[in-house]
Subunit: 239 residues, 2 copies
DNA sequence: GAAATTACTGCACTGAGTGCCATCAGGGGT
DNA sequence: ACCCCTGATGGCACTCAGTGCAGTAATTTC
């Protein structure tokens, strides 16, 4: 109302949207999500109730105001991939696009994390948001794996693993109130996925592609230990 | 519906619950989920509206009437694991517990699949159901991986991969109207996950624990191929 | 300056979900 | 038989999210 903003930076971005988000979070933080009605929000923002649902299809959407744009960004990022790019590494980079969105507003992301952590309805909504990211990754991988026999299976599994690793790192960062290094955390988590699915981290041109690795194992050790050994042996060479 | 079961197996299961599910699905199938109100359902079932919400906390829950029990079954299955069981194989078996629930009622599962596929609200609800399964698997793995450095990360990623593989196989089976072999499909999908994360099939006691295995690999091959090679070399000895 | 387009508001309505109380069945105990 | 207690049910009124429709103000366009 009283803010005399000059309309020049954003291409006619409606300030009402931001006002609604601000009013909503103010109320959510001071009395909780479920104790806040949409009428409360629009009353604080000084707008009509109908306008709220013009900008946000549901009450939950106001908690994730930028995910629609972020999903579009990620999809565009994947669509802009070079056709010979390494697929697993590419979807890992796509996950980093999402992480950047979170890292841009640490305080907002932490507030939202606390909210979604304790409101079951918001957790469920977040799942549907994350699911759309996962589907976008899986669709990209399916297209790239079309030639493989188990292409869609591998695509779905790898997409799920990438999202899980991303979320694990993201939550760990959010739990630290956004103080740690988000990029490093997520890089590490995605490195694990890449090592598991053999997305060979891009090998330098000067390396010998025909190197031979010899692994010796007692059969008494569980297989997963052997595999871990091999993973570190093979994976560490370039990391 | 017409089966005149003697009340001896189940401990006094309320028939009202079944009646509500039957009435709900009848209406959902003939006019669609969103075109059916709770009042319609209770009118057809001949019960009071309040009773519906006594048995199902929300309208969505009537579509997944047995998932609560199934989740309890799966949790119990994991809790009953022997402490030295191979963790990844164990969560794969837990996923098979869920699959069995679907396979018990193929026609019902297929009907529900068609419904959830085209109703966004139900898809979102299914995500929250699946998420609880995934969390149960992840919690089990976290406990088993407590000693590892990256235990929680590995647990989350593996749980997500198992769920993704299970869902991929399950959907493939549902898309075939429940005609194919659900177990074989899911076994194959879970085999991929096990090969990626190195879950060893249980080894017999009469084997030599001190055998030595040598694996040779060109570095040019993707890691997952190497892992597959190792898995067959080590795993085939007992399977 | 009129017309058209757009952004916003108000109002009434549907439908999900909840709290409260009345009712009715069965089971013991006396 | 009687009463009491408990648990399952039904009925009602209420809140609140979300929608359709109509009306109004602001901005653009000719």
């Amino acid at each position: 109302m009283s803010a005399g903003e000059k309309a020049e930076a954003a291409p006619a971005k409606p300030p009402m949207r931001e006002a609604l988000v601000a009013a909503a979070f103010q109320l959510f933080l001071e009395r909780g999500y479920e104790q806040t009605t949409v009428d409360d929000i629009v009353a604080l923002a000084g707008v009509g109730r109908r306008s709220f649902f013009r900008y946000f299809p549901s009450k939950e959407d106001v908690v994730f105001p930028d995910h629609e744009r972020c999903l579009a960004d990620m999809t565009a990022f994947l669509a802009a991939s070079e056709p010979d790019a390494e697929p697993v590494g590419r979807v890992c980079d796509a996950a980093r696009v999402v992480l950047r969105m979170y890292a841009e507003n640490p305080t907002f992301s932490v507030q939202r994390y606390r909210l979604t952590k304790q409101v079951p309805g918001l957790r469920a909504y977040e799942l549907s948001v994350v699911w759309r990211y996962e589907r976008a990754l899986a669709e990209y991988l399916r297209a790239r794996f079309a030639a493989r026999r188990e292409g869609t299976l591998q695509a779905d599994v790898i997409a799920a693993a990438v999202v899980a690793a991303h979320n694990n790192a993201l939550r760990s960062w959010l739990r630290s109130d956004g103080r740690g290094d988000a990029s490093a955390t997520v890089d590490h988590a995605l490195g694990y996925v890449q090592s598991a699915f053999g997305a060979a981290p891009p090998r330098r041109a000067d390396e010998q592609p025909d190197d031979v690795v010899v692994v010796v194992s007692r059969r008494g050790a569980p297989l997963w230990r052997v595999v871990q050994e091999i993973e570190t042996t093979l994976g560490r060479t370039t990391d």
